[in-house]
Symmetry: C2
Subunit: 655 residues, 2 copies
Amino acid sequence: MRLLVRWKILFLMLVLSNGVIAQNKLQQYQNVNFSRVQITDDFWKPKIEKVSLVTIPVCIDQTEVKTPRIQNFEIAAGKRQGKFKGIFYDDSDVFKALEAMAYSLKNHPDAKMEKKADDWIDLIAAAQLADGYINTYYSLQFPEKRWTDMSMHEDYNGGHLIEAAVAYYDATGKRKLLDVAIRFANHFNSLFGPGKRDWVTGHQELELALVKLYKTTREEKYLKLADWLLSERGHKKAVGYTWTDWKDTAYAQDIKPVKEQKEITGHAVRAMYMYTGAADVAALTGDEGYMNAMKDVWEDVVYRNMYITGGIGSSGGNEGFGVDYELPNENAYCETCASVGMVLWNQRMAMLTGESKYIDVLEKSLYNGALDGISLAGDKFFYGNVLASTGRQARRDWFGTACCPANIARLIESLGNYIYGFNNNSLWVNLFVGSNTAVTVNDQVIPVTMKTNYPWDGEVELGLSPQKKTRFALRMRIPGWAQGSAVPGGLYNFQDASASNITVNLNGKKIEYTVDKGYLVIDREWNTNDKITLSLPMDIKRVNSRAEVKANVERVAIQRGPIIYCVEGMDNAGKTMNLVLPKSSQLVISKQMVLNESVVSIQTDATVVSISANGDDVKTEKRKITAIPYYTWNNRGAGQMLVWLPQRILDIKVN
Amino acid sequence: MRLLVRWKILFLMLVLSNGVIAQNKLQQYQNVNFSRVQITDDFWKPKIEKVSLVTIPVCIDQTEVKTPRIQNFEIAAGKRQGKFKGIFYDDSDVFKALEAMAYSLKNHPDAKMEKKADDWIDLIAAAQLADGYINTYYSLQFPEKRWTDMSMHEDYNGGHLIEAAVAYYDATGKRKLLDVAIRFANHFNSLFGPGKRDWVTGHQELELALVKLYKTTREEKYLKLADWLLSERGHKKAVGYTWTDWKDTAYAQDIKPVKEQKEITGHAVRAMYMYTGAADVAALTGDEGYMNAMKDVWEDVVYRNMYITGGIGSSGGNEGFGVDYELPNENAYCETCASVGMVLWNQRMAMLTGESKYIDVLEKSLYNGALDGISLAGDKFFYGNVLASTGRQARRDWFGTACCPANIARLIESLGNYIYGFNNNSLWVNLFVGSNTAVTVNDQVIPVTMKTNYPWDGEVELGLSPQKKTRFALRMRIPGWAQGSAVPGGLYNFQDASASNITVNLNGKKIEYTVDKGYLVIDREWNTNDKITLSLPMDIKRVNSRAEVKANVERVAIQRGPIIYCVEGMDNAGKTMNLVLPKSSQLVISKQMVLNESVVSIQTDATVVSISANGDDVKTEKRKITAIPYYTWNNRGAGQMLVWLPQRILDIKVN
């Protein structure tokens, strides 16, 4: 009964808000959509172009030519004879590539790419069964077994279909894929839900997708369905699970009801997608249960289970979370998709709370753990992202399980989603990315311009130009790292944690400012051509771990701004495992090219242990070494790499 | 038609041989059954007792109390309410424990253990379905799905049932379990076979078990069925396989017909059991096709894919074989069960060919790769057996997949099977184990006594005491290692390969002898109280790998007799990764206790690289180090270990 009342209120809110999806009291602001943000800087703009020109064509080639993913749809569409080939979740890669293409078309219209997308969409539509079901693995092999095994990703694939459909509709106005997605969602809704059959998503994703479908169609049933799917977990309802050994329900966060969860468990990407969906539902339904649970879970992730790169999921065995503080470097799993998921979830947490710490974590995952997943040339990928290598790792063209390439592609193409936020009386600046946008605040359209060489430089110039004087609060994030905090919760700490000098100028004059929830707040009447300049201190920071992280005892990492550094063999006579960075050595910045990427590198004197010519003896000497941004490693061939340098000789191995 | 003729001949042979299973012309000799061999030495006798008194009770406790393996049978027998718990192959652990108990009862009669076995057998018999089917995973959960998925180990479990049943019948004369096994085999035979349904065993084992059942029951159909199962492979007949990702048919040696196989592929234990079964069938049917194929496959194993410990299956990913010569030490998989399988297969190859090289490999796997799988105290186990450790490995009480403990237990209890062989004109001595037996050769019962401190000492005294003069050839193995050959095929080589001094005395006088197929042959009339003394040279050998084995470049291993050595941190100031063994250092033997095990250890001067007190510098010094038998490592706690020592400083790592 109470549930019904809640839904009625929601419906009323929607009607009253004149069709705009209501912001619930739980959500402090909403983000400016990437389609309204023009990125102009020297850091992200070339990366977005590279994804459009290189990465997406790679995804298309792999999906259509080098692997049978599109072929499965051709067979299902009756255009070709043959059998299903591949893995049961391969359809999702087609959808995720389409989603990346949709964002790319918005950033860089391209008739050829759009034609390719339309061709794929025709196949997908033709492959859909009359009742709305779509999944080539089942429909081509054993259609009678569909919806019998919750581990088989029918839901996950469907979620990515919906995400692609919404993105493509937004980008092009074309409804064909959206209609496929709606038919699929209606089909699912006809089978599952209160009073119908139970369903526990085996790989969460459909939840967040259904919220997107709700926002696009304004059909309340999809939001209800997302909420219901979340409520299905934690009641021992999972059935099937023939695919994996992971019958352990912690693997898919199914051990407790979502609202009772306090600790992070299991598969990292599943967890991130689930909490993203839960945050989306909470924002729209006003359900504080999700939020309360997620705050605890988030602390468990960030305080005890996150790498300094923002990577999560330390264990390859479950592609997920292990024991608290067990964060091995050489065997770090840190799936690229999990870092993408961290960006998604933390954005939602930030909007729900208005607190900057979520963006601090988002920024860390984005510039380090996620960005490391794609090569500088845009054509090779890491599935996992280690923090130390003896040379075994190499970026790869593609993967049997190919979730990561299109995932990092869609993230970079939609980067504009993460920069600005707004509500009716405030403008949020979350990330520092040179860009232009226009945001409606206090019923006025405010043109906004940001100029910066971030992350290499801490100067950020923000231009606000309302046509007429308009009062609103500008809320610009002061990154935690600029205030002496390496991460929320103290898992990592700066050796020198003294607060640095942050200055803010308004129209050329230094001003005092207040800080609220991690944001500098300037609440005033803004005028045409107002300029705010934020200067963030770009000191080089030595970072230590909490003692509980055994892998990092007596070790130091290097950070500057949001960028985590590593030493790579390439810059250091081929070896890094023989380097010691004493506490006393001076760290200085330098400019360097890593392939075509112009970066700030860091130089310092290290203790280097090396072998005598005859192999009988060892010696110790001082030598200048170079650290490069972590995300740029393994772009000049495979070799040794190290993020956490020993501060003294910790061990000695001769073989 | 020709097949029929062959079977008729076989049947005729059986009839003519007066009930004794005929030796086919392909088989040069047969082994003396362990039940007729009394082991008396200081090496194996205590180990066999430990298995009876410690290991088997551990297996019983784990199977019955700590895990629900017996409970599943109780439920299936209707003695208890509940659901199946565990993994679909858990039944096999019950059977394998029973098989070990059967051998133990023969070695050490124990009424309490026999009562336990009888209780289990009652449960198993009550759990069998009316039609002979038995498998608690299916019968308790989805009996309608039985025999639909060849990967689900119904065949494998059934094979271990048969092995246990035959062993228990041999040990006790009790038929109850044998009758269960016969009903199961008849049930399987009613469904599968020529003109009936196809079946490709997903985990080979049933083949060799059916040969045992044939030998016990003399029912030809079981031998036929084993032969037919082997002939099913390599024709793309496998169906089901929902369990694993390993739809790749190479994993289960199903890519080619067995008789066309030339290379070793896939899962190591599956391969060993299959070739053991194929050898058993070949010995009885005279089918040279299996033998020709297996000779090539064996060379592929021993020449390119075997560790110096006799361990096989280098790769954890498939629990099996990888790329030729890719034999990583720290990540060696080398499953204990695969070494057990090497013992089984090589015994069959030796009996088929009469060549000693197979026993050389059997001995290597037995004393090193297999024996390492069980702790000196008999209560802890290794599933995999690495050849280098930074301290991560620890022997464990039990495993989720618990194939190894009972497997090594049954091998040790049945060790007597591998010592002696005979045909009507020859007596074979394959292994040097202090023991007594009586063998019928040339229609005379020949009492045989062997005395030796092998493997620590190379003196072997063999006493033959026929009641009357009897002519036969004594064939005593001259180990390859005593003739300068580290392994057949040259994958490993002694640095000093000069042949050593082997002497043979007959009744106190040195005699000349001839060598045939690796055996010293003394063909004469033997008399009461004849004594032959074989003196094998126990030089300490430095071993190198072929250059193709990248993991061992510029490294040396130490061998003495059949024993491979390792250095363990425990004896060497806690560390082994900082040790270099220069070519010039002298190796000398020493006596040492490892826990309660008295062993010959080896001492030498090493180059030791160590860290200065303040952690800023390193130094190099000479220090005496100790190497212990590989099979004894990790019995005094976890720590570093190394089999392949560098001969110079190969690398330098400080963290």
